[in-house]
Every structure is written in structure tokens, then in C-alpha cells.
Amino acid sequence: MREKKIIGDFGLFTTISVAIVGVGIFSCPREVIDKVGSDAWIVTLVAGVIICLLLQLIYTVMMKNNFEDLTNILQNTFGRILGGVFAITFAMYSIYIVSLGMREFVEVIKLYLLRRTPTEFILMTTILTGTYLVRGEIGDLVKFNEISFWLMFVPAFTVLIFTAVNADFTNLLPVLNNKPMDYLSSSKYILFCFGGIEIAYLIIPYLKNKNNSSRILRKSIMFVTFFYLVVMILVLAVFSKSQSKILLWPTITMIQSLEISGTFIENWEGIVMAFWIFFYFTTFVNTYFFSGEIVKNVFKLKDIKLSSLLLMPIIYVVALYPDNIAQLYTLQFGTTPVLLIAIFLFVILPILILLVGKNRERGGNTNET
């Protein structure tokens, strides 16, 4: 285990934030509003709290295991083979989700920006650019995150402030007018939007100041929740619930329908879309690095350059697999195995690690005495 402690507090904050905010932000408002209507923002808030707890769980796991990296923790707890299998599952799950996200990203780009460029070509370009970044060290990745954080959120918030001008905030009413089941089924989508928190496993071992990091983690989740909340409220306020249900990507259409009288720029979406590319790209690169690191550690490869090459074709194939946009969404949200794996990885696995770790400690103690 390398004893490099290179990442500062701000690095942690930005990495968590940019890794979580991804393409989900485009489609998520539709799914949630479709289910719970004007209560979408409440669901977002609750999801933020849940994610915060899950992240706290991850932190506790890391702390109990002396901040080693994920593969080491898993292999120490469950033995070499089982731990390895878990680690690979983790990596594959992340790659699967991020690849489908990539397809969604490409579809958005194809619809709004590059109409005649083939899907395969956009995919290849994105993957190759990502690979170039992943081949660097983790320090480079975090620096990249720190820079793109500003590139992402400054334009995003600027645009969102302008959209608020045409918004009708009474659309947020009525409050709490749905069946409890609807809240549950809609929270599925919003929780997927928060996908990417596993990056904490990668980043925490490299922190300079580990004692403070629990607070920083909470802060970054609060920031992301706030961002999602703003987007959700604005989509509702601008489009009302009946129109938001129809639109495939309400967030983009919202930016499209932005009109600022007196400005010289008329079609904002071109500029904004260019910035939105970062939103996906950061999620992709971080998850890619995370999976690459796991594959490297499990198979004892020399460095991440090799493992990233191994993952490249998988991303490409998974991203190309869906026939159309409808199948893409079914694969993302509609399949039970994916859901189960997600629950296993983010809820059951950390708890298992903690339990097994405790047992072993006790076992070790009784042997000694």
C-alpha cells in the first residue's frame, strides 16, 4: 500500500460532487415527477439524507479498517477469493451503470449537438479521452475534478438563475398529496442519480487529513442535494407537472426555453450543452478510475494503464448494447438484478464488512487470552 497522502479537503469535496452529478440530472426529473408530481422535491431531499447515511457507512467501514483501499478491505475480511469476487462485482456494476450513462449522454449529444455524427464515433472519442486521463495518477484526476467543478457549476447556476425568471412557483403545490408507495417507487430513480458515491472508497485512503473527512463528505452530499433540489424545483415551476411528464429530458428543454430579453446570445442550449458535457465526463472518468484501480489490485497488475485498457472494450460494448432509448431506460432502472446488486453493494456489503470485522476482532481477542 502506497503511503501517499496527497488529496486535500477541497479535492475530496469536488471529487465527490462531480462524480455524483451526472447525466441522471437530465432525465431524473421526468421519472420522479411522473410518479409523485409536485412532491418531487421532497423525494429529492429524502434521497439526499439516505445517501448521506450511506456515505457515512462507507466512511465508518474505511475507518474501522485503517483506511486501506477497497480491495484490501474486502480481501482481508472475506478471504482472497470471495473478497476478490466482491471487488470485481463492484467494479463491474460501476462500469455497467456508467456505460449506460454514456449511452444516454451520447443520445443527448446526438439529438442536440452533433446530428449526423455516428454514435460509435462519439463513444470512441469519449472513451479515449477518458482513458487518457485515467492513465495518469490519482493526483491528476483530482486536479481535473477541482478545475471542472468550477467549469460545471458556475455556468449551471448562472443559467438556472435566469430560468427562475419565467418560473411559477405555485406549481410546487400541493404538498404531500400522494400514496406512500409512489414515494418509494420514485425514490429508486433519484437514488440512481446519486450513483457515484463509491468513489469515496477510492479517494479516502489518499487523504491528507482523514479525521476531518466525514464532515467534508457530508458537505459535498449537501451540495449535490441542493443542486438536484434546485433543478427539480425549477423544472416543476417552469413546466408544471403535466408538461414535465411528457418531456424526455426536461432539464435540457428548460434551458432551451430560456429567454433573456436584450441579450445578444439567443440560442443558449448550444453553449450550455457544451458545459454539460463535463457533467457526464467527470462521472465517467472517476468511475472508470475507480474500477480500473480495483481490477488492477485484484489481478495484481502492474499499473492502472493496463487495467484501463482491459475495461475499455467492456464500456464500449455495454454502451452500444441497447437498441434504442426505451431499452436503455429499462436496462438502467427496470431490471431487478441491477437493483438487487446495487442494494447489496451499497447497503449489505458495508454492513457485512463491519460485522465480519467485529467478529474477527473478538475471535482474535479470545485466541490471545
Binding site: R116, F239, S240, Q243, I246, S257, N267
Partner: protein, 378 residues
Amino acid sequence: MLLSGCWDKVEIDRRNFISTIAIDVGEDIGKEKELKKLNLVEPSSGINIKKINVTYGFPDMSTVGAEKSGSAQEKYINTQAYSMEDAYSEAMAKSSRDIYLGHTKLLILSSDILNHKDTVKEIVDYLQRSPSINRMIQVVVSDGPAEDYLKFKPETENNTQYYISGLMDNSDRNSRIMSMNLNELLILLSENGNALLPMISLDNERKELVLSGAAIIEDYELKGVFSPIQLINIQLLSGKFKAGKKAIYLDGHPIDYLIDGYHRKIRVVQEGNKLVINVDIKLEGQIGGYYVGKKILDEGELQKIQNAFNSSISEDLRKAMELAIKEYGIDPFGVREHIEKFNPSLWNKIEKDWKTKYKESSVNVTVDTKIRRIGATQ
């Protein structure tokens, strides 16, 4: 990798920037019913039917330049097609340049096409689905064929699109004119299929193009027309009023009341089995003109005028609202949204038979006018 963006390159001088889209009925619109029976198996028979007539207007770029002043002359491409997408490809085939819809400013729907519900639904879906269409396009309904309006040359501007857009931009200062953009229209249609659209008409003798009130759209169909005066009332009731005037006759002379402050409150209660809609309107403004020699700088006198306005405006508004509710069954006032948002328990009860409940509801309008200023004379 650096050149990967070049796949989609289009040179700017190879583009036609469409500024106006005018949609008319085509010659085969009568076959709409027949077409409904068509299904997947016989695709080719539906292709050659000219259901709609779409005209794309675009400024002639050769007349724009540093030395030439003002807006450009307009040119047109006219197409006959069975759908909007077909019209687009048809226009492509007729043009030497790439047709670009991203800068469209105005959409003119002819009143005839609004009598064909299914075709309208097809058009609306196209506008909603197509990512390249700007959602801030202004939408108007034309009285008669839309194409004529596009070819009309107004006195004050070089092309129609500038003229109509200019008129609609004035809606901030005068509520006799309303403006509606595609985004608002789509939201209204998706909410309950009801909308009011600004209507334009052409006076051929006087060579004038005027905004003549509002077309009433209900369930994607043209149901009637409001005159500009009625439109002010509707705007006042619906909370969208910006600025305008009302007048009454007092002692045989008109008094103009220029409204510059406005607040509306709506309350819906259920009394027995009937809905009662209460609208409270507060107005602030000044007197615009009366009669030489009449003094109104007197509290009692002003109170008298205010009371006269109160009763006149509230009566006016009540009639307008009842007309809209009883005769057209439309809801431009947002009554439905109001109940849904602020009284969800009532909404859950009446949602099923909302239409009949709404038609049977009674209306109370109370108006409170305040005359703040009386101009520069007594």
C-alpha cells in the same frame, strides 16, 4: 480527435435561417377521416396525400449587410405535405441551402387547420418532439389562410415576422394584445388542452394587418373568438393582465381609467353540490381623460367614480367569465389549477366530473379600484 467535431459541419452561408413557419390546410384535408382507417399494412397509400400546406419564410440574406439598413426582405418556400417532417424534407428538396429551424421566431396557424383536431395533434406533437425548434417561438392564429399573412407587406416594417413580433412585444404595455409562445402553449395544452391564442386578421382593403383578439382553443380545436375588449376582461380574470385601460360613461362623457397596478385573488368553495368561484381583483391606476370643466379633485367625487368603476368592471368581468364557462366551457382563468394546488382534498372529490361541475359553477367577481392620480389638471 481534435477534428471530430467536423463531422457535422455546415457552413453558415449554406444555411437558410427560417424566421416564420405558416401552416395551412392542404387540398386533401378532407381525407382526414379516411386516413384514420389506414394502418401499418398499407403505408404507401398515405404518402401522397397533401394534408397540410406549410410555408417557410426566411429573410433574404443578400439584402442584409453593413450598408443596407433595417430588416431584410422575406422569401418563401411553399410545400404540400402529409406531415410537418415531410414538409421539412420537401422544403429541403426545394432549397439550395440547408434549412435551419433553430432561429424561427413566429408560427402562424391558420384558423382552418384548427378545425381539424387530429391534424393539429400531429403538428403539436412534432413541435414538441423536434429538438431543433426553438421553444420561444411566438404563436398566432390567422383568420384565413396563413400563407397570405406571410406574403403580406406591412407599411412600417419590411417583413411580417418583424411586424407581428413587434405587436406581440407590446403586450406588456397593452393587454388588448396578448402574446403566447410555443413553450407556454405546449404547457397549457398538456395541462388540459385549453388555450387562448392571439389572433391576427388581414384587412385587404385598407392593407392592414391587425391583432384581433384571441382564438379559443379547446381540446385542440378552435371553439370561438374573443374580441380585444373581451380579451382584456379575460386577462384581468386570469391574472395575466399587464397594462391597459377601462372606460365608463359618467354624465354622458367617457372616463378612461389607465390601470397600472393589478392584483388578483381567486377562491373556490363548494356550496352544497355547486362550485362557487370568487374572484377578487384590486386595481390601481389613474384617470386618463374626462371632460373640460369637470373637477374630480375631491374625495367624494373620486369615491363616486371609483364606485362606478367597481360596479361596471365587476359586472363586465362576471359576464365575461360566465360566457367563457357556460358557453365555451374553457378555463383560461386557472380555476382548475387553483383547486388542484391549493385545495387538493376538494380536487380529489370533484376530479371525476370536473367538466360538468365547472359548467354549473357560479361566479362572484368583486373589484376594488383605486384611483391614485388624476393627471395634471383638477
